[in-house]
Symmetry: C2
Subunit: 684 residues, 2 copies
C-alpha cells in the first residue's frame, strides 16, 4: 500500500537524536549497572540467550494480538505454551530459561499453574511416594495440572471453603462434593479448559467414633478431573472457563463443581498430615503454619516480579517523555523550541519517583528471596521458627509492592498523554494483566492485618521486657526506637542532608505507629475490626521502612559499583525516600520522626533531587535492559522512532482499515458488500 | 445443558435477603432523593421512557460483547448507532432522549463526534450562511462528520499544529497539506472509518503584500473527506483507524493526512474570523478567547458526566460488599457468622467517601452547567467578560473531577476482591473507556496551569487594592480570607463540629495556597516552569473548595428535601469534606486552616461519620437509579443475586466452553477436531 505518506518524516528533532542526546549527557556506565542489577543470578545471560530464539518465531509476534477475540486469545496462548515447551526441549532450556521465555513472550500461559502452584504444591506437600509417582508425569507434561482452592463464595477466608472431602472407610475413598453454588471452585487458572489434573483443596471430613463426620479443615488432594483421551470432565464433575476478565485473556480461569465424586485414599497429599486408610484416623502436621509455605513462595515471587514490571512501565515513560516535546518555556522567547516534556516538574514528579521505586523494589526483592531461601531450608530441616516472621513480612510487602507497581503503571500511562491510551503505548496489556496482583495471593487490604498482628505481638513482648538476643529485625528496630518514642530520649534526624537519617526516620515512624496500635489494641482493648485502618497504615509504614532500609544498606555495602554509579544511585535512593516521606508528612510530623521545618522544605528537596537525576533518566532505564521485543511499545522503543512506529501500526498493521463501511443509518449494510446489521446481531 | 448444578443454590444468606435487609434498615426516602437529584431536568423520566425501548432490542444485549474481536466491536458499534438513530426517528426522541439511549446502551458510538463536537462546532463557529447550508445535512445524518484537531505530534499545544491551510487567491481555494508525519491528524473520533466530512483545524496561511505566506494560527474548516458513493477517501487524503486502544473499542479514532488537497473558500468557518475571498485579507475575531467555547462546553459536559460514572461504580461496590460475606468478627465467637465486607472499616474507607464524592460531583456539575449556560448567553450577546473565569474554573474542575471518577472506579473495582477482576463486575469496560477522560479535552496535569494563572492574576489585582463590586466568586473568597492569611486576624474553624467551618477551612486553604504561589511567581519572580507542581496543587485546592462549597450551599438552600433525607445528606457532605481534608492534613495544618488537635482527631471523625452512613449506603446508591441494564454487573444487580448471575455468565453464556482442547504439547492440534497451531499462527 504505497502512498504519499511513505516519504513523510517527523518534524525536526527525531526521537533517534533525542535519545542519543540523553544518553550522551549521562556519565552512568549502563552495563556496569545492568550487571549489578541483573547479572548475579544469570538473568541477563538467560535473557540474551532466550530472546534470540523467541523473537524469531512468528507465533510469538505481538503486533496483531490486540485485535483478537477472547476465545482466539486463549487458543493463541495455548499454541504459544506448546511451542515454548518444544523450544525448551529443543534447546535444553533450564526451568529458569523457560520462565524467562514466558516472561519475554508476555502472554499469560494457560500452562502457568501447571508450572507454578501445581508442581510446587506436589513438591512441598506430597509424601515421598506421591512425589515419586507424580513428579515425572508433571515434569514431562504427560499430565497437566492446576490448583483449585478459591471458591465462588470464598477467597481470603480459606477456612470457610465449602467443598467437602468426606472419607469413606469402607471403600477407602474420599467423596468430593459441592453442597452449594458458592462451593464452586472459581478463578483457578489453567483448569477451565487446559488441565486434566488439579490440586483440589477441600474440607477434610472424617468419621468420629460414632460415625458422625467432623471437619479437620481444608486439605489438598490431587485429582484427575478430565479424561486423558476425550479431555472431557468425568461424570460428576462440571468444569468450565469463567469468561472474559480485566486481563489474562489467554488464561482459562475455571469454575468446578463435584457431585459425590470419588477419589482414592492416595489422592490426599500427605507430607504433613495424613489419614489412616483403614481407620480414618487423622495425623496432624507438626506445625500448622507449614501450609503457608506455598503461599509465601508465591508472594515472594510476586515481590521480586514487581521491580521488572515497574521498570518496564518507567522505561516507556522516560523514553517517550524525552522524545515528546510540547510548549516552549513560558518565560523564554515565544518562538523558542518546544521542551521535552520530561523537563516539566509536573511530568518528573510522576515518573522519576517511580523510576526510583523500581530500584527500591529490586533490593527488597533480593532480600525477600534470601529470607525465603533460608527459611525454606530451615523448614526442610524441621525448624519452623522463622516462618511467622517471613509470613508477616511477605504479607505487608506483597501488599505495598504490588500496589506501588499497579498504581505506577497507570501513573506512567497517564503521563504519556493521549498516546498512553493507544495500543502503541505497550502499557495496556501490562496494566490489564497486572491489575490482578493487588488481589491474588491475598487481597492487599486484607493481608496487612497479618503484618500488623505480628508487629503488635512483637511490641507486646518487647515492652514486656524481652531481652536476650534479638530474634529478628523487628526486635532490633523496636529496641532501638522505643526509648525515643516513649520520651526517654529525643529524636532528631536530618532528613534533608543525611541518608542514614532518612532510614532512621522511617524506622522511627514505623515503630511509633506500632506503639500506637499496641496501645489501642493491647492496652485499651479496642475491637480488632475498629482498628483495621490503623493496621493497614502500620503495615504500610513498616513495609516502606523495609524498602528504604534495604535500598540504603544495599548501596552502603555494595562493592561492585564505580563512584559514578554509586553517586547516581544515592540520588535515586534519596528521591525514593524523600518522595515517600513527603506523601505522609503529617504522620512523620506527629510521630516526631521529622521536624516541621524539614518537612516544609521537603518538596523543594524532592525537586532538587529530581533535577539531579533528570540527565541520567534514560540511562537509568536503559540499565534495566528491557528488550524492545518485551516492551512492544512504539513510545518506549530503544531507538526513539516513536512517530514512525505509531504510524506504521496504524497505517499498515491495523486490520480494521481493510474494511470500508456504509455510514447511512437508513441502510442495513454495515460493511460495503459485506456484513449487514442482521449478520452483526447474529454474532451476539 | 442440564446438569447437577441446576439445583444448586448459594450457601445461606442470599443476596436477595441481604439487600432487602439493607433497604429495610434505612429510613431514607429513596424516590424523594432520586427526584431531587435527577428529576429537575427530566433525566429520570427520559431514562424510564428510553430504557423500555433499548433493553428489548437484541442488538443492544451486552452479554456477549466482551468476547468479540476489536473489528467486530467496531462493526457492532456502527450497527447500534444506526439502530439508535432509527429508534429516535420512530419514537420521535428529542436529542436528549437520543443521548440518554446512547448512555444506556453504553457502547461508545462511532457517530459520537458527529452528534457532539462536529455539530457543536458548526453551531458555534459557522456563519449564518454556513449554518443554513450544513445544519440540515448534519441533523438528518445525510452527511456524517468528525472533528479533526489533534495531531500525531501535537495535542495540548494547539498553536503548534502543523497541518497547513494555504490560501490560493487565484483559485479562491485553501490548500490543505501535511508537511510531515507528525502533522498527521490523530485520535479524531468517528473519522477513522465512519465519517465522510470533518471539521479540520489547520494553520491558516495567507499571503502578505509581497506574496509571502504568513501564519494566522489554527482555524477550523469543514471538509468533505470521503466520496459519498464509494466511501473511499479522496485522492490526496489518507485516512484510517489508529488501531486498538485501552478502551473505546467501538470507536474509530483516526489518522488523516493531506497532500496539497484543495477545498473551497467557503470551507473556512467564518462566524468570528474570515478571509476576504478576493484579497486574502484576514478579519480577526473580536475576542480571541471565543474559540475556547467548544472546549469549555466539552469540559462542562465531562464534569456533569463524572457523577453518574462514579455513582455507577459505587452502586456496584456498595451492593456487592453488602452481599459478600467474609470472616467472622475476630473478637466474637470463632463460629460466628461471616460479616458483610462493607462492615469492615478498610472496605468502608475505600467506598463510602466515593459514595459521598458522587454527590459532591453532582452539585458542582449543576453549578458548572448554570455558569456555562449564563456565560454562553452573554457571549451570544457579545459580552465576553465571564469567559476567562468560566474557562479557568472548568479547567481545574475537569482535572479534579475526572481524576476522582477515574481513580474512584478502580478503587471500587479493587474493593470487590477477586470478582472485581472478572467480567461480571460491570466495571471493566467502564474503567477502560473512562480512562480516556483524564487526558482528553486537556490533560489533567497540563490544564491546571490555566486555573492557577487565573488565580494568580486575581490575587495580584486583589492585593493591588481592587475594590468595588466583586466580579466573581474568587474576588469574594480572596477578600474574605486574605486578612487572616496575612496575619491581620486569626483563623479558627471548628472542622469537627461545624459544616460551615469545613467550607471555610477549604476556602482558607485555597486562598493561602494562591497567596503562596502569588508570592513565588509575582513577588519572587520564580520561573513559571519551576512552579508547575505548586500550580497543580493550587488548582486542586481551589477545585476541592468549589466542590465542598457547592455541596454545602446546595444542602443549605434546598427546599425539596424531607428532614430524614437532609440529615443523611449532611452526613454525606461531612464525609466528603472530612475525608478530603484528611488526605491533605499537612497542607491544612501549615496553612493555618485547621489546628493540630482537630487534625489529629479527624481520622476518628471520618470513621464515626462512616458508621452513621453505613446503614443508608444501599439506599443512597439506589437513589441514583442506575438500571441493571446499564450496570451490566452480576455484582451490582438490584436484586443481589450475585452468585447465580456469575455462575450463569460462566456456565451458560461463555463461548469458550464450547471448545474442547488438546493440551499435549507434542501434538499440533489445539481444538479437538479443529484448529491446529498452524491455523492459529495464520490469524496473526
Amino acid at each position: 500500500m504505497s502512498d504519499f505518506t511513505d516519504s513523510l518524516r517527523p518534524k525536526q528533532h527525531s526521537g533517534l537524536e533525542a535519545l542519543a542526546h540523553e544518553r550522551q549527557q549521562s556519565n552512568l556506565p549502563i552495563d556496569e549497572l545492568s550487571t549489578h542489577l541483573l547479572g548475579a543470578d544469570g538473568f541477563l545471560a538467560r535473557q540474551t540467550k532466550v530472546l534470540k530464539v523467541v523473537q524469531s518465531e512468528p507465533l510469538f509476534s505481538k503486533s496483531y494480538q490486540q485485535n483478537l477475540s477472547r476465545p482466539d486469545r486463549y487458543k493463541l496462548g495455548l499454541a504459544r505454551g506448546k511451542l515454548l515447551r518444544r523450544l525448551a526441549d529443543k534447546h535444553g532450556w533450564t526451568p529458569e530459561e523457560h520462565e524467562t521465555a514466558e516472561y519475554l513472550v508476555d502472554d499469560v500461559s494457560p500452562y502457568m499453574l501447571h508450572m507454578g502452584m501445581f508442581v510446587t504444591t506436589i513438591r512441598e506437600q506430597a509424601s515421598d511416594t506421591q512425589r515419586a509417582h507424580w513428579l515425572p508425569l508433571i515434569e514431562s507434561w504427560k499430565i497437566i495440572g492446576a490448583y483449585a482452592q478459591t471458591e465462588l463464595g470464598h477467597g481470603s477466608n480459606v477456612r470457610g471453603l465449602e467443598l467437602e472431602a468426606r472419607y469413606d472407610t469402607k471403600t477407602r475413598e474420599f467423596v468430593l462434593h459441592s453442597p452449594t453454588l458458592t462451593a464452586s471452585k472459581w478463578w483457578n487458572g489453567t483448569l477451565g479448559r487446559t488441565a486434566n489434573h488439579a490440586i483440589v483443596v477441600a474440607q477434610l471430613l472424617l468419621p468420629d467414633a460414632k460415625g458422625k463426620y467432623v471437619s479437620y479443615g481444608p486439605h489438598p488432594f490431587i485429582v484427575q478431573v478430565r479424561d486423558m483421551k476425550t479431555h472431557l470432565p468425568f461424570e460428576g464433575i462440571v468444569i468450565g472457563d469463567i469468561g472474559p476478565k480485566y486481563g489474562y485473556a489467554s488464561m482459562d480461569n475455571a469454575y468446578m463443581l463435584f457431585n459425590n465424586f470419588r477419589i482414592p485414599h492416595s489422592a490426599m497429599l500427605s507430607r504433613y498430615s495424613s489419614v489412616n486408610p483403614d481407620t480414618g484416623k487423622y495425623t496432624k502436621p507438626e506445625e500448622s503454619a507449614v501450609v503457608y509455605g506455598t503461599l509465601t513462595f508465591m508472594r515472594s515471587k510476586i515481590i521480586q516480579h514487581a521491580r521488572l514490571v515497574l521498570a518496564r512501565a518507567v522505561t516507556v515513560a522516560v523514553r517517550y517523555t524525552t522524545v515528546r516535546r510540547q510548549f516552549a518555556d513560558r518565560d523564554g522567547p515565544s518562538n523558542g523550541p518546544e521542551l521535552p516534556v520530561l523537563d516539566y516538574p509536573t511530568v518528573q514528579i510522576r515518573i522519576l519517583p517511580l523510576l526510583a521505586t523500581a530500584f527500591a523494589l529490586h533490593y527488597t526483592g533480593l532480600a525477600m528471596q534470601e529470607i525465603y531461601n533460608s527459611t525454606r531450608k530451615e523448614i526442610e530441616a524441621g525448624n519452623f521458627g522463622s516462618l511467622a516472621y517471613m509470613h508477616s513480612m511477605s504479607s505487608g510487602l506483597k501488599s505495598l509492592c504490588t500496589t506501588l507497581a499497579a498504581d505506577g503503571i497507570e501513573t506512567c500511562r497517564r503521563a504519556l498523554g493521549g498516546h498512553g491510551f493507544g495500543g502503541g503505548s505497550g502499557l495496556i496489556q501490562l496494566n490489564n494483566d497486572y491489575l490482578s496482583k493487588p488481589t491474588v495471593e491475598g487481597d492487599n487490604w486484607m493481608i496487612t492485618q497479618q503484618t500488623a498482628a505480628y508487629l503488635v505481638k512483637k511490641m507486646t513482648s518487647t515492652l514486656g521486657g524481652a531481652k536476650g538476643t534479638a530474634v529478628d529485625e523487628i526486635d532490633v528496630q523496636f529496641r532501638t526506637y522505643l526509648p525515643q518514642i516513649r520520651g526517654v530520649s529525643e529524636a532528631s534526624y536530618n532528613i534533608l542532608e543525611s541518608d542514614e537519617a532518612l532510614v532512621k526516620s522511617f524506622q522511627h515512624r514505623a515503630t511509633a505507629l506500632a506503639y500506637r496500635v499496641y496501645q489501642a489494641r493491647v492496652v485499651n482493648k479496642k475491637p480488632w475490626t475498629s482498628l483495621m485502618i490503623e493496621f493497614h497504615k502500620l503495615s504500610k509504614a513498616q513495609s516502606q521502612s523495609i524498602l528504604v532500609t534495604k535500598f540504603h544498606n544495599a548501596l552502603a555495602s555494595s562493592t561492585d559499583l564505580s563512584p559514578a554509579t554509586r553517586n547516581i544511585l544515592w540520588d535515586v535512593f534519596r528521591l525514593f525516600a524523600s518522595y515517600t516521606l513527603d506523601a505522609d508528612r503529617y504522620e512523620f510530623f506527629t510521630c516526631g520522626a521529622a521536624s516541621q521545618a524539614q518537612l516544609d522544605a521537603l518538596p523543594a528537596r524532592v525537586n532538587e533531587i529530581m533535577t539531579k537525576i533528570r540527565p541520567h533518566a534514560v540511562s537509568l532505564v536503559d540499565a534495566w535492559k528491557i528488550p524492545d521485543y518485551l516492551l512492544d511499545s512504539a513510545l518506549g522503543r530503544y531507538d526513539g522512532r516513536v512517530y514512525e512506529d505509531l504510524f506504521n501500526r496504524a497505517h499498515r498493521l491495523n486490520p480494521l482499515n481493510k474494511l470500508t463501511v456504509n455510514p447511512n443509518y437508513w441502510e442495513d449494510e454495515i460493511i460495503k458488500d459485506g456484513e449487514d446489521i442482521k449478520a452483526i446481531r447474529a454474532k451476539l
